[in-house]
């Protein structure tokens, strides 16, 4: 009788131990799964952000926008302001070329009151709406990235490049 009781106790101990071990592994597994899922989500967000920014960077470094060799050597993330003003006036030729619903360039430093650039007030302005589909305002999801906005400025004795800090904003999904 005593021996049976001892055996039962051992079996009970073993069962409790098995339950505890299983519970421990389940909890540990859940903890690791949660960490990996949160990592997965953050890396998905990172990839999304990277893709959106790469799209904008790709556009800023395309021949229609980039400074290329105009300002002494190749510059990354540099937009030629004179070039985009010329592009703005000939934008009809680029209808549907990029497959997006709008492109804008806003100077962010030095910051002045928002003035849209036209051929009459250029370069005393800080906002260039290159195109915005059919509406006056750009619509859709806007993705922006930092660029240097450079132009050639001529003084009395000195002709030199002037670069300011701007953001290029690309709108997509708003219907062209």
């Amino acid at each position: 009788m005593v021996r049976n009781n001892k055996a039962q106790m051992k079996i009970q101990q073993m069962a409790f131990m098995l339950i505890a071990v299983t519970l421990f592994f389940v909890l540990a597994g859940m903890f690791f799964l949660r960490i990996s899922f949160s990592e997965l989500r953050s890396s998905a967000e990172l990839v999304e952000e990277k893709n959106a920014l790469l799209l904008v960077s790709k556009l800023a470094n395309s021949p229609e926008f980039s400074c290329e060799n105009a300002f002494g050597g190749v510059k990354i993330n540099c937009v030629d302001e004179d070039k985009i003003m010329a592009l703005k006036t000939n934008i009809d030729k680029y209808s549907g070329f990029w497959g997006i619903s709008g492109i804008e360039v806003r100077k962010i430093y030095p910051l002045d009151e928002l003035t849209e650039c036209t051929s009459s007030n250029y370069p005393d302005c800080n906002y260039i709406r290159i195109f915005s589909g059919s509406s006056a305002q750009s619509s859709g999801v806007g993705v922006s990235n930092f660029v240097a906005l450079c132009r050639i400025e001529g003084g009395e004795n000195l002709i030199q490049e002037k670069c300011e800090l701007a953001k290029i904003i690309v709108y997509y999904g708003g219907g062209e």
Partner: protein, 158 residues
């Protein structure tokens, strides 16, 4: 005999604990290392690339200097034609640029920022604003000119 058995069990238990601790430590180190690598931000990187071209008010006999050129002039303690110290112009220009580009505040996604420019062991520029936390997006840019190695570090905290 009973004592020996108990001792063996304790040794076994201790061994299991040590093995588990080593495994957990290994996972933690691996996890923390990955976390540090993922904070590299493309936006912050573009920001650095863009502001390096910005034309400042500091002029030498040839041109108005870009921030990239001004960093090297600051290293040499150059005085601009308007008699302002190059490091002073660099500091005020960078502060203005960062302030306008990364607006901070309680209701904004960016709570603070930190900028550090070093040349070798020498710190040329350092400033910070707002709250500094463990969550940030940042970028680092190194460049070399005339044997001078400059490192730019920018972090925006959320």
């Amino acid at each position: 005999m009973k004592n020996k058995l108990a001792q063996e069990e304790i040794v076994g238990f201790a061994l299991i604990i040590i093995i588990m601790a080593v495994i957990i430590l290994f996972f933690l180190v691996f996890y923390l290392k990955e976390e540090r690598e993922s904070v590299e931000s493309y936006e912050a990187n573009s920001f650095i690339q863009a502001f390096l071209h910005y034309t400042t008010e500091c002029e030498n006999y040839r041109e108005y200097l870009s921030i990239q050129k001004l960093i090297f002039e600051c290293e040499k303690d150059f005085v601009c034609l308007n008699e302002r110290n190059s490091c002073e112009v660099l500091n005020s220009t960078l502060k203005g640029i960062v302030e306008e580009s990364w607006k901070t505040g309680g209701d904004r996604p960016v709570k603070g920022y930190e900028m550090n420019i070093t040349s070798g062991q020498k710190e040329l520029i350092y400033f910070k604003e707002g709250e500094i936390s463990a969550s940030y997006q940042g970028a680092k840019q190194d460049f070399l000119s005339s044997g001078i190695n400059v490192e730019i570090l920018f972090r925006a905290y959320s």
